[in-house]
């Protein structure tokens, strides 16, 4: 559906994004360190594509998504949306830009104000950013409800009267209200039942086609990401360790972590009993105190001596394939290509 190598228009450009949460301790509450939730992350998202962002819980993928939308005041780095730098924009200035970038949240229960009706929830962006009157707003709300497959009769209902899948549709309708270009989907299916997940994913795909949307699809469900994303970024402990087009990543993962992650996914096929399963030992280290060298060196099955000393650079090692691992130190693509994707 989208060919990466064609070098389409870059919609989002993230460079050196850092999001640190300070830790204070001691009698005088001194700043003793940071939780490095997102630590020097760079990538692009092309117009019309879906970039999947996968990783285990606590790896910083949600924080990354929120930081891109500037829901936080970021520690460092630049974020360019549609050619406009927003990394240092004030919250008031961001307000005008909000309509272009929206978000769909993980918990369909928690992301809807329980005290507001559907019409209020979906109409809120319109109220904030347009000068529609009540009837116009209602018409637009109905339109949006149709678009996400909700019966317009329900517009006066409250969120608790809906099932999880329907609530997620409400959230999507709200995100669509202002005709955004870019939507961050923060684990939109994680809290849904298996039989509903497919409905929501299909809806997202349909809407993308219909409105020409660009998605950052954050998920820990590797199989769902494989389905929806065009390119996939894998995060580990605040850093992107691998970024590739979907098929190449799933068929031939480069980073040891990606390999382990993929092999850990249980396949719903009893005959496919994974023979070459890589089982990672131990837990993810704390982002407040990451190991020296490569973040993954504590669990890496292919760890080398250099990994404990040096943090591998995130580089394009094959055309369109970026990875941060010392195993690929001797691989390199030409500078021209590198410039094009801008790592």
């Amino acid at each position: 559906m989208f060919d990466v190598s064609q070098g389409a228009k870059t919609l989002i450009e993230v460079r050196g994004l850092k999001m640190y949460f300070p830790i204070y301790a001691g009698v005088f509450r001194r700043h003793v360190g940071d939780v490095k939730a997102v630590d020097d992350v760079s990538f692009d998202i092309y117009e019309g594509e879906t970039l999947g962002l996968v990783g285990e819980s606590g790896c910083g993928k949600s924080t990354c998504g929120r930081a891109i939308l500037r829901l936080y005041d970021i520690t460092a780095g630049s974020i360019t949306i549609n050619g406009r730098e927003i990394g240092k924009e004030s919250q008031a200035g961001l307000r005008k830009l909000r309509p272009t970038m929206q978000m769909v949240f993980q918990d369909p229960q928690a992301s809807l104000n329980p005290r507001m009706t559907l019409e209020g929830i979906i109409g809120e962006p319109l109220l904030e950013h347009t000068d529609m009157d009540r009837t116009q707003r209602r018409a637009r709300v109905h339109e949006l409800m149709d678009a996400v497959g909700l019966n317009r009769r329900f517009s006066n209902r409250y969120p608790h009267e809906f099932s999880g899948g329907q609530r997620q549709r409400i959230g999507i309708a709200r995100a669509l209200a202002l005709n955004p270009k870019f939507i961050v989907c923060d684990e939109p299916i994680a809290a849904l039942d298996v039989s509903i997940q497919a409905q929501v994913v299909n809806l997202l795909e349909d809407l993308q086609k219909q409105f020409g949307l660009t998605y950052l699809f954050i998920s820990h469900d590797l199989s769902m990401v494989r389905h929806i994303a065009d390119r996939v970024a894998v995060m580990y402990l605040g850093k992107v360790v691998e970024l590739s087009a979907r098929e190449s990543l799933y068929n031939e993962p480069l980073h040891p972590y990606t390999k382990a992650l993929l092999s850990a996914v249980p396949e719903p096929d009893p005959d496919l009993e994974a023979a070459e399963r890589v089982i990672l030992q131990g837990d993810v280290p704390s982002p407040a105190n990451p190991p020296a060298g490569c973040n993954f060196c504590t669990r890496c099955p292919a760890v080398m001596e250099i990994c404990h000393r040096e943090d591998p650079a995130f580089r394009e090692v094959l055309p369109g394939r970026f990875v941060a691992c010392h195993h690929y130190n001797d691989m390199n693509v030409s500078n021209e290509t590198a410039d094009e994707t801008g790592s």
């Binding site: 329907q166 497919a198 992650l261 719903p268 096929d269 005959d271 089982i279 030992q281 837990d283």
Partner: protein
């Protein structure tokens, strides 16, 4: 049913309801199944399908009120667990039937050390004194793969990571060498890499200890990798039951079929578009008089709205509850 394997647990016509202000909710309807020695029975279903309630009903763990076990029999070692008195049941809980819960974050008591919580069943059921119990507790932690086990006995649950905590839960459940282990979505709250660790661990322990396991999950992938036999639940009922390969290769019930299709894969073909089950999961209510799946069923017929189908045997050890499934000729009960 292969000969020689005897049933450790035999559940017949279990009915559990919840009393609410808006009336009775039938959470478990006429559920029957059995568990053989050393077998791993996978129970699949979406949230609200009644799988957890069924398992908790077995050892009467549901708070009553509002829960009430209306009818049924749970035969374990010649005893009906639903009939025996509370003291006898307590002797069985934790000693002969172990339980692992979904959320390792909340299932351990935050204010007691892991050692204390591990010692409790040991001292209660095996009559060990504190010293012996401590020794055994350290062994158990080691068995579930916790490094520096005896030192960590003094730690509190919050000092463990999620995966480690689930290992502690497993150690507690296995403390008294139970004959049956009931695992209620034990890996749902964990990351895939940790889930893989736990699955490995369970496989290993199963070989070593040989207990029968009931494994509840909504993840078909997990089931495919670990179960011997699978039971699919929907709307408080068992809709299909079969050995694992049989179920994945030859699903009979429309729900099972659809479910298998909606799940995307990491390997193999990538479908351009996912199959979907239209509609919403059923909202439980009064006693079911119709097939709970009928509203989402692509092949529903008139009778589905009038009559709740019973489980029909459709093949060797394979049964499904659907009006459209032709009953096999054998009269074997599953």
């Amino acid at each position: 049913m292969p000969d020689g394997a005897s049933k450790v647990l035999d559940v017949q016509n279990l009915n559990t309801i919840f009393q609410t202000r808006s009336g009775e909710i039938h959470a478990v309807n006429n559920v029957s199944f059995d568990l053989e020695e050393g077998e791993l029975l996978g129970v699949v279903g979406e949230s609200g399908s009644g799988k957890s309630v069924t398992m908790m009903s077995l050892i009467r763990l549901l708070p009553s009120p509002p829960a009430e076990i209306r009818a049924g029999k749970v035969m374990f070692d010649g005893l009906d667990l639903l009939k025996i008195d509370d003291d006898k049941l307590r002797d069985i809980r934790g000693a002969r039937i172990g339980f692992i819960f979904q959320d390792p974050m909340t299932s351990l008591n935050p204010v007691f050390t892991v050692g204390f919580q591990l010692r409790e069943p040991l001292m209660r059921h095996m009559g060990l004194n504190k010293k012996q119990a401590n020794k055994r507790a350290a062994e158990l932690l080691e068995m579930v793969g916790i490094p520096a086990a005896s030192a960590r006995l003094k730690d509190y649950p919050h000092q463990f990571s999620g995966g480690m905590r689930q290992r502690v839960m497993i150690a507690i459940a296995l403390a008294c060498d139970p004959e049956v282990l009931i695992a209620d979505e034990p890996t749902t709250a964990l990351d895939v890499t940790i889930q893989a660790q736990i699955l490995e661990l369970i496989k290993e322990l199963r070989q070593k200890l040989g207990m029968a396991i009931i494994w509840i999950t909504h993840d078909l992938g997990v089931i495919a990798g670990i179960a011997d036999r699978v039971m699919v639940m929907y709307g408080g009922q068992v809709v299909e039951e079969a050995p694992v390969r049989e179920l994945f290769k030859n699903p009979q019930h429309p729900y099972t079929k659809a479910l298998l299709k909606t799940v995307p894969h990491v390997r193999g073909e990538r479908a351009e578009r996912l199959e979907v089950i239209e509609g919403q999961p059923p909202i439980l209510g009064g006693a079911p008089t119709a097939c709970p799946f009928r509203e989402r069923c692509p092949v529903a017929i008139d009778i589905c709205a009038r009559e709740n189908p019973a489980l029909h045997v459709t093949g060797p050890r394979h049964a499904a509850a659907c009006h459209l499934v032709a009953p096999a000729r054998e009269e074997a009960h599953v």
